[in-house]
C-alpha cells in the first residue's frame, strides 16, 4: 500500500474530527467533570468554551501535519507531532462535551483512531527509512487501526454480556420498548401529538418483539466476532460491512445513529482493504 493512500485516509479521518468539533456549540462550564476534566478542568474547560477556535487549530494542524506523516527527518517529526496535538485537542473538547451531565458515545472511536495513527506516526520515526521499509509502514498502520476498531466492538459486546449477567440475548425482545421510545422521542421533537398512532413499520415491530430480539442478538454476535477482522483482508471487509449493517439497523429501529463509527468502518475496514486487494490483483 502506498504511503500517499494512508495519508489520504488519515486526512479524511482528521476531517471527520474537525467537522464534528466545528459544529459544536460553546460549553460555558463543566457541571459533571468526566475523564481528563477531573484532572485538568482548566484546560478541558477552555477547549469546551471555544470549540470554533479548537476546530480551526485542528484544521491547521491537520493541513500542516498529515502531508508530512511518515516522511524522513524533521518533516516526519513535524507531521507526527501535529497529528498527536490534533488528537489531543479532539480528546479535550469531546471530554468537555461529555462533562455536561450525559456521556455520549459517538466520538470515542474517532479519538482512538486518531491517537493510534499518531502513535504509529511517532513509532515510524524510530525506524530506518530505507526505501524497502517505508512500503511496510502503511499496512502496519492499517492493521493497528483495524485492531483498535475491533477492540471497540468486542468491548461493547463484552460489556453487554457483563451488564446483563449473560442474559442479553434472552432479554433482547424487550428492546421493542426502545422502538416505541424512539418513535415517541421523535414525535415530541417534531411537535407531533405524542399519543398518535405508531408508523406502520414501528407498529409491525411492536407486534413482533421476537424479530427485534433476533435482530439485536445477531448484532451482538457481530460485535463479539469483530476480532476476526484481524485475520485477513476478506474477513476485514466482511466484518466491516456487517458492522455498518448493524449500525444501520440500530439507527432504523432505535434512532441510535453512529455516523462517525460507520464512516471509520467504511474507510478503514472496507475501502482500504478493497483498494489493496485491487492493487495486488493488478500487480503481476
Amino acid at each position: 500500500m502506498r504511503v500517499m493512500v494512508l495519508r489520504l485516509a488519515t486526512g479524511l479521518t482528521a476531517l471527520l474530527a474537525v467537522g464534528r468539533v466545528a459544529t459544536m456549540a460553546p460549553l460555558p462550564a463543566l457541571p459533571f467533570p468526566h475523564g481528563l476534566a477531573t484532572v485538568w478542568p482548566g484546560i478541558v474547560g477552555i477547549a469546551g468554551q471555544h470549540p470554533a477556535v479548537v476546530a480551526a487549530l485542528m484544521a491547521l494542524l491537520g493541513v500542516g501535519g498529515v502531508p508530512a506523516m511518515f516522511r524522513r527527518g524533521a518533516a516526519g517529526v513535524v507531521g507526527a507531532l501535529a497529528l498527536a496535538s490534533m488528537s489531543a485537542l479532539h480528546v479535550l473538547v469531546i471530554t468537555a462535551a461529555n462533562s455536561q451531565g450525559a456521556i455520549h458515545h459517538g466520538q470515542q472511536l474517532l479519538s482512538q483512531t486518531l491517537l493510534a495513527l499518531s502513535a504509529m506516526a511517532l513509532w515510524s520515526l524510530r525506524r530506518r527509512h530505507d526505501d524497502g521499509q517505508v512500503e511496510h509502514i502503511p499496512q502496519r498502520v492499517v492493521d493497528i487501526v483495524t485492531m483498535v476498531i475491533a477492540s471497540a466492538y468486542l468491548g461493547a459486546g463484552v460489556r453487554k454480556l457483563l451488564a446483563t449477567g449473560g442474559r442479553w440475548m434472552l432479554d433482547a425482545p424487550l428492546l421493542v420498548a426502545d422502538v416505541v421510545k424512539t418513535t415517541r422521542d421523535h414525535q415530541v421533537d417534531v411537535g407531533a401529538p405524542v399519543f398518535e398512532a405508531l408508523p406502520p413499520a414501528a407498529s409491525w415491530l411492536v407486534d413482533h418483539p421476537g424479530v427485534v430480539g433476533v435482530t439485536f442478538s445477531l448484532g451482538l454476535l457481530v460485535e463479539l466476532v469483530a476480532p476476526l477482522a484481524l485475520l485477513g483482508r476478506l474477513p476485514t471487509i466482511l466484518i466491516g460491512a456487517l458492522l455498518i449493517m448493524f449500525h444501520r439497523v440500530a439507527d432504523g429501529l432505535m434512532g441510535l445513529g453512529f455516523p462517525y463509527h460507520e464512516a471509520l468502518l467504511l474507510l478503514w475496514c472496507v475501502l482500504l482493504p478493497l483498494w489493496t486487494w485491487w492493487r495486488s490483483e493488478r500487480q503481476p
Binding site: V91, G101, G155, D189
Partner: protein, 135 residues
C-alpha cells in the same frame, strides 16, 4: 514478522485493549460504549405536559426529550440523591440560556413504556405519569 505471529500480536492487542476498556469504565476516549446499555432499561421518555396532563411539544427550543432522558440517567447513575430535581434544574438552566422560559402550568412528565407478558406473548404498554414516578 511472519503473518501468523503478526495476527497473534494484533489479536493479543485487541484483547488487551478490550480488557483495559472494561477496567477503566466510562472514561473518554478509552471506554467505547455505554455502561447502561441493557435491554428493557430505557423504559420511557420525558415529555413536557400541560396543566391537564396532556403532552406538549418541545420543538424549537433547542433541546429534546432524549437529551433530558440521558441527563436523568447520567445523574441517577452518578449517585445523585434527587436526579429528577437535577434534571428539572438543568432543564430550566438550558431554557434560560436559550432565552426561553417554561410557560406557567407546564411540568415534566414521564411516558412509561413497558413490555409485559400476557398469555405467553410480549405486549407493549404506554402510560403517562409524573416524572417522579419514572423508573
Amino acid at each position: 514478522m511472519t503473518a501468523p505471529s503478526r495476527r497473534a500480536w494484533l489479536l493479543g492487542g485487541c484483547v488487551a485493549l478490550t480488557i483495559a476498556g472494561q477496567v477503566v469504565g466510562e472514561c473518554f476516549p478509552l471506554s467505547p460504549w455505554p455502561m447502561y446499555e441493557a435491554p428493557g432499561l430505557h423504559r420511557g421518555v420525558i415529555v413536557v405536559v400541560d396543566g391537564d396532563g396532556r403532552p406538549v411539544s418541545l420543538a424549537g427550543t433547542g433541546w429534546s426529550a432524549a437529551r433530558l432522558q440521558k441527563r436523568l440517567i447520567a445523574t441517577a447513575t452518578r449517585g445523585d440523591p434527587d436526579p429528577v430535581a437535577s434534571v428539572r434544574a438543568a432543564l430550566l438552566a438550558d431554557a434560560a440560556r436559550a432565552g426561553h422560559s417554561l410557560p406557567v402550568g407546564l411540568r415534566l412528565g414521564w411516558l412509561a413504556i413497558d413490555v409485559v407478558e400476557e398469555q405467553g406473548e410480549l405486549r407493549v404498554t404506554e402510560r403517562l405519569g409524573p416524572l417522579e414516578d419514572a423508573p
